[in-house]
Amino acid sequence: MTTTQMPSTDNPEPKNSRSFMQQLTTGTDWKSAALIPALAVLTALIIGVVIIMLTGSSFGDAMSAYWALLQGSVGSLKAISETLTAATPLILAGLSVAIAFRAGLFNIGTEGQLLMGGMFAVWAGFTFIGLPFYVHIPLALVAGVVGGAIWGFIPGFLKAKTGAHEVITTIMLNYIALRLVDFLLKTEIFQREGRNDPVSKTVEASAQLPLLLGWINPGLRVHLGLIVALAAAAFIHWLLFRTTTGFEFRAVGANPKAAKYAGMSITKTYVLVMVIGGALAGLAGAGQVLGVLDRATPGFSSGIGFDAIAVALLGRSNPWGVVAAAVLFGGLSAGGQQMQVSANVGIDLISVIQALIIIFVAAPALISAIYRLKAPAASTQISKGWGS
């Protein structure tokens, strides 16, 4: 086709011009919002059975593995606590990815932002001594927010000023963060006295996030971070749908040119959304070091930032969808431990199932075809890039 602009033809058929990013963020009808993800999970679990059986186990073995998975995720108070503990950082990191999606950016840098947030938080956690918890906890959390926000600002600023693609810069910043953590943990500031291996000083008790169910059983690990995460989801939902800032984010994400014509500053939006995304990831890192680990070790992010991309995709970049997806992934992760122990099926299967879920969510046409759903209007278009 030539580049000449021409008047549009008359076209009574449904328009088929949504971008991949829009498809991920604007599934407003209930089918794409809930049904497709639910069927994606179901399909992935069914394929999981096949995989278990391929390894020489019987169908009965596969069923007992899934029973263990269910037991380990929701079968007891302890299991639910583990599920929610695993879900907590996934909610925050998932929101980080989701809000960037909404503004048309692919934030792959959540992992690095989470690491930096965790390092800032752990520093604030062990440096200030003698503070009351109601000062120390907020202080440490804010430190985490700042650390993540700085790490988010860098790719946002580079994108705004130079056009550098955020996928490239955030991936590189992940590597930098990962190795920076290794380096910092060997410095005098962070390294625990008397240790040669890279491990940080322990967070002061006054900065450790209180356990929510510790009064029932101190072994129930779910902590205050869960409340923080849910509050963040509510805040992001409010920000996106009730404020002018969120209006700008969504407009820039859905149609940057129209947003520019409407007088919005695209560059300002990119920087702001990456700062907010980084802050959320930083909060996730802070929650891990203050609520679960009490210290920082190399790679303490343990891939949460990458699982977060899957969570945001599954949650269709809707804040409450992200919460639901994070709880599901938290459950898979908690239940996976149980499955490994009692059914002798490797926890790697969980990663396979998670990956399958994402493939099916990213290819809704596949799910529609398998279950003979009437295809949504725009389901068969080809994704051309990240949001543009």
């Binding site: 086709m1 030539t2 021409m6 008359d10 009574p12 058929e13 404020t243 002018t244």
Partner: protein, 501 residues
């Protein structure tokens, strides 16, 4: 070849796109197919070209029933489509484009360039379609590119040629040349179907006119006796006033003034070269020109999307040359962008959201950064009603609207602001006659209210209908200024093609 469609019905979910359509086109004649957007013209042509299977009805060629399971079968049966959006590869040469997909090959599957060139030359000479087979397509004017498209379908053995809005992108002179080509094809016995919404062209070139409305054939008209008014009424279903009524208006002070405005690309080549003009209060200034002669840049530099290299832009006497788009908007400039889908609206946003797209941050829509949903909805309901946006559901997404209604939504957003300057770029491009009439009325109403209005349009009829003064933009320069009463479309057409005064 005689083509007959019998009882073609095509349904889409919720839409009856074609409803028992019958039409006949004979060898050596031109059948014009006219109808509003959404009347079912494109669906019918997609059925004919094998892209869609009709739910009912049949296609006959020379009395033989045809089945087209895909586009290949339709081409094999002798049907050739010349699309409105050319299907050419800009960096390929003419002959490469023409033989693409049916390449003559030598042993070993190598492209036989010599034979390909000869084939292209033969057809171009036979039908009087002069074109250099070795020219790069991107270097050719649009009119010549269209010839390449025509040669393409002829090479594939088409005897029934379907032209979809072929004149939309041509200058008046190119349209004349195109009509010459059609006459030549007709004389050689081709069957021609000409889809258009330009009634005058249908009357000028067709031997028979079929009118579609809501998927049905509402009638045929004889071009020798029919008038544009009659055709428009058949298309829309109610009497249409094609002449824009406008009374003399009282001219006021200059609202917009450009002095020596130069805009360059990244390499310093000018998009706009020392453009100077004024738009007065109560005046409509029309910018005529072929697409790509600086109109887009002119609108962008006025609205602040693009920065200027030299010159000044004044708005109500104040220099706004370097203000941001937001500040210009706030100062009192409304802007209907040239491409509604690309830059005029956010397709996935609701109608209500699109109606506040550039004023969402102002009261009453926002207070302290919080969107006031009740006020936004109230305003949207009022605007949808006042500007006749159909269907009037403010929670629909923008992309669900037809072209005409989407445009009315954008016009509603921009015209509902009581501001001194309106910049309208291609205000009625690709929309139905009813919406065009409505938007033209709104523009005239704004003029009567004493607003300054700048219209940029590639539709010369529109420029003549609305403008108090016409400026012709060619190669980034204003090459002519005329009052519509003192010139003719032919003269303006010559300026558009580069003739200087």
């Amino acid at each position: 070849m005689e083509l007959e469609l019998r009882g073609i019905t095509k349904r889409f979910p919720g839409v009856l796109a074609n409803d028992n359509v019958n039409l006949t086109a004979r060898s050596g004649m031109v059948l014009a197919l006219i109808g509003e957007n959404g009347a079912g013209k494109s669906t019918l042509m997609n059925v004919l070209s094998g892209l869609y299977q009709p739910d009912e009805g049949e296609i006959l060629i020379d009395g033989v029933v045809q089945k087209f399971p895909g586009p290949g079968a339709a081409i094999a049966a002798g049907i050739g489509m010349v699309h409105q959006h050319f299907m050419l590869i800009p960096v390929f040469s003419v002959f490469e484009n023409v033989v693409l997909g049916v390449e003559p090959t030598k042993t070993g599957g190598l492209l036989d360039r010599k034979k390909a060139r000869v084939e292209v030359k033969e057809i171009s000479e036979k039908y009087g379609l002069a074109v250099d087979p070795d020219a790069l397509v991107e270097s050719l004017p649009v009119g010549i590119q269209q010839r390449v498209e025509i040669i393409k379908v002829l090479l594939r053995g088409a005897r029934i040629l379907v032209f979809d809005e072929p004149t939309a992108v041509l200058t008046p002179q190119e349209v004349e040349e195109f009509f010459g080509i059609v006459a030549e094809l007709k004389a050689r016995g081709a069957t021609i179907i000409f889809i258009t919404h330009k009634l005058k062209e249908a009357l000028a070139i067709a031997d028979d006119i079929t009118v579609l409305r809501d998927g049905k054939v509402v009638g045929n008209a004889d071009p020798k006796t029919a008038t544009p008014e009659v055709l428009a009424e058949m298309m829309v279903g109610r009497p249409i006033d094609l002449v824009v009524d406008k009374t003399e208006s009282v001219l006021g002070a200059p609202v917009l003034e450009l002095k020596g405005v130069t805009v360059t690309d990244d390499f310093g080549r000018p998009y706009l070269n020392e453009v100077s003009f004024q738009v007065l209060a109560g005046e409509i200034v029309g910018i005529a020109g072929i697409q790509g002669n600086g109109q887009t840049e002119l609108v962008e530099v006025i609205t602040g999307m693009m920065s200027l290299a030299e010159g000044t832009i004044s708005f109500e006497g104040a220099d706004i040359s370097h203000l941001s788009p937001r500040k210009r908007h706030a100062a009192g400039m409304a802007h209907v962008p040239e491409d509604r889908n690309e830059s005029g609206m956010v397709g996935s946003f609701t109608v209500a959201e699109n109606l506040i797209l550039d004023s969402y941050y102002t009261e009453p829509f926002s207070k302290g950064g919080r969107l006031q949903r009740a006020d936004i909805a109230t305003s949207a309901i009022g605007l949808v009603e006042a500007y006749d946006v159909r269907p009037p559901h403010i929670e629909n997404t923008g992309s669900a609207l037809s072209g005409g209604n989407a445009q009315k939504m954008i016009v509603a957003r921009e015209f509902s602001r009581d501001v001194p300057l309106l910049v309208c770029s291609q205000p009625t491009r690709g929309i139905d006659v009813g919406s065009i009439e409505y938007i033209h009325e709104q523009i005239i109403r704004k003029r009567q209210e004493g607003k300054a209005i700048l219209i940029v349009s590639t539709e010369l009829d529109e420029i003549f209908a609305l403008s108090d003064r016409i400026l012709v933009l060619f190669d980034g320069k204003v090459v002519a200024e005329r009052k519509p009463a003192e010139t003719t479309p032919a003269e303006i057409g010559l300026f558009m093609a580069g003739k200087t005064t």
